[in-house]
């Protein structure tokens, strides 16, 4: 497998410039950004609880689900990986308690600092959280008070977890958005990594210090993936921080390397593929029956919707991919276990998943963005006009360009995943002349692409 590793991927170290390293090593710029996001978060809570109950007239719904959720998927995640996690306000109060001060460790620390239970590690809980948001999505995305309760609940749980468990256990093991972001962050052209030529002695020395220095409970000296690196930059701020570097890299740099992928990550990958199809059907489709079923929580129609959502995302798609993997294994006469091949192929489908989410968001955001301007001037829906935009009329943006952009994104996702499937097949030890044995998996990816195309432009 080592022979398969590709070393030709482009990398450019940003931290080689002293001013960049200084900027990142200082805690103040990051704190300033987090203060801004915290202010936004507080406004979301206030407007959600006290503002207009009409979603399209309330800052909480419009800001969270149109502005932030779209910016996350269109910009922060594809270009910055876990960049959002580095400025997320949700873990801030818990961190203040843990470190005893606002900006950096200093005062009296508060918390038990227990290790997160081994049985609960992985992304299963995050998958469940993301699925729960999906089940109630029509209600959540349209009801200010529900949005506010979700965020209030997240902050309460984050604080509670911070008091009992060590570091950012909440972010790593519980945050429903953390699972989504972490899974796709490996496709981003930004990474925090140890210096490539770090000696063993240096790694041992660093490992002694870094577990304290890494809030995400990593050993940065051994960091090879973006999945669990929250870009908090704390490792840069330790005594051995000069051994870490922030790189710009090619989009494919991480995916093109052989890497293990757990079963929980495979199910999350497929669950997110299923989720994006169902989100598209609810929010961009012409089927009122689905919209009303998703909205009317607790009714028989909603239970039917919930069943279809869960069965499709966590049953049908995994079962179909498992079947395609079995065929690929049989045709390729591969010696690897079916489970290993299934998880690796799930990893190869990540680009299609991410680009499907981006395509959905393009259609979603450009159609709804005009709702933002009035709520910027009137966040509570109380008739204010702070910036003179309260009366701006709704209109969809880029209606002619949107379908073409969606087509190009989905085609790019299919091609990227197709390439990754073939690379994976070779990495799994299938003889190169038998790499076409992966055709069933490629057809699976093609089927997902066609379904997404049909939902978006069909």
């Amino acid at each position: 497998m080592g022979a398969m590793e590709k070393s030709a991927n482009f990398r450019y170290e940003l931290t080689q410039h002293a001013w960049v390293r200084r900027l990142l090593t200082s805690r103040w710029p990051q704190f300033a950004l987090r203060a801004v996001t915290l202010a936004g978060f507080v406004l979301v809570l206030l407007t959600g609880f006290m503002g207009s109950p009409i979603g399209s007239r309330n800052f909480a719904v419009m800001f969270v689900w149109i502005a932030w959720w779209s910016a996350l998927k269109l910009l922060m995640l594809p270009f910055g990986g876990r960049a959002w996690c580095s400025i997320c306000p949700i873990p801030m109060p818990g961190e203040w308690l843990q470190q005893g001060w606002l900006v950096k460790p200093g005062g009296k620390k508060f918390g038990l600092g227990l290790r997160w239970p081994r049985q609960l590690r992985g992304t299963w809980l995050q998958s469940a959280g993301f699925a729960a948001i999906g089940l109630f999505s029509a209600w959540t995305l349209t009801t200010p008070i529900v949005t506010a309760w979700i965020f209030a609940g997240l902050i309460i749980v984050a604080v509670a977890v911070s008091v009992v468990f060590e570091q950012r256990s909440f972010c790593r093991y519980l945050c429903p958005m953390g699972g989504f972001i972490g899974l796709y962050s490996g496709l981003a052209p930004l990474e925090l990594r140890p210096q490539p030529h770090l000696t063993t002695e240096a790694k041992i020395l660093a490992a002694k210090e870094w577990p304290r220095g890494c809030p995400w409970i990593n050993n940065p000296a051994a960091l090879k993936s973006n999945a669990n690196c929250g870009l908090c930059l704390e490792c840069l701020r330790t005594e051995t921080g000069s051994q870490m570097q922030l790189n710009v890299r090619s989009f494919d740099a991480e995916l093109s390397q052989p890497s293990s992928f757990r079963l929980d990550e495979a199910f999350l990958s497929l669950g997110l593929l299923g989720s994006v199809m169902i989100y598209t059907a609810i929010f961009q489709g012409p089927w009122g029956v689905i919209k009303n079923a998703a909205l009317n929580v607790g009714t028989l129609a909603w239970w039917g919707f919930a069943g279809i959502f869960l069965l499709t995302s966590f049953g049908l798609l995994p079962a179909t991919l498992a079947g395609a993997t079995w065929l690929a294994r049989t045709f390729g006469q591969a010696a690897q276990p079916l489970r290993l091949m299934f998880t690796r192929y799930s990893r190869a489908l990540l680009p299609l998943g991410l680009l499907s989410w981006i395509a959905f968001t393009i259609s979603f955001a450009f159609g709804k963005m005009a709702y933002l301007w009035p709520v910027v001037s009137d966040p509570f829906g109380w008739g204010w006009n702070l910036f003179g935009t309260a009366g701006m009329e709704w209109q969809p943006y880029l209606v002619n360009a949107t379908p073409v952009i969606e087509v190009l994104l989905l085609a790019a996702g299919l091609i990227w995943s197709g390439k990754s499937v073939l690379d994976t097949t070779e990495q799994l030890g299938t003889a190169s002349q038998r790499r076409w044995s992966a055709l069933p998996v490629i057809l699976f990816a093609l089927a997902i692409t066609v379904i997404m195309l049909w939902l978006l432009i069909g």
Partner: protein, 157 residues
């Protein structure tokens, strides 16, 4: 040797750009249906249009009767930029010529409840060529990429 490699790269790049554009934009000789008058009655209720999908031919004279069955609803057709709204129990009428082919969303423009921003329907004028071209482009793009980036496959397949 270097020049030949350069030529192959240029050829691949040009083909890689032209082929998708060709598939996406090349005119197709499709039979043209005679324009006729089309009449639709759309019932709008929270948060659905019934029917939700309208299919017409390019050039058809289209009349849409919008009937709101519960609260006030509107109807705005993307790209055509036509709009109307109807009070509960009332009917509003929209007349237009379907001059622009393609698939267009129509949306409610009067806040009508929780799912208002997502109350959508589709107007399809002529065959949905973009969808067909998109599927074709995806398959062609996948094949081209795989063959170019994996010469061993092209050699053995």
């Amino acid at each position: 040797m270097a020049a030949s490699k350069f030529n192959v790269t240029v050829f691949k790049t040009i083909l890689g750009i032209i082929l998708p554009l060709l598939i996406l934009a090349a005119p197709l000789p499709l039979p043209e249906a005679q324009p006729t008058e089309r009449h639709f009655r759309i019932e709008a209720s929270q948060f659905a249009y019934t029917p939700g999908v309208l299919r017409v031919n390019p050039g058809d004279q289209v009349t849409i009767e919008l009937v709101a069955t519960d609260v006030v609803h509107g109807l705005y057709i993307d790209s055509y930029e036509l709009q109307t709204s109807a009070d509960p129990g009332q009917t509003a009428v929209l007349n237009f010529t379907a001059g622009q082919p393609g698939v267009f969303r129509f949306r409610c423009i009067v806040p009508c409840g929780q799912m208002h921003p997502f109350m959508l329907g589709k107007l399809q004028v002529g065959p949905n060529l973009l969808f067909l071209r998109a599927v074709l482009m995806s398959v062609a793009g996948l094949l081209l990429w795989v063959l170019w980036k994996n010469p061993r496959i092209s050699a053995t397949s």
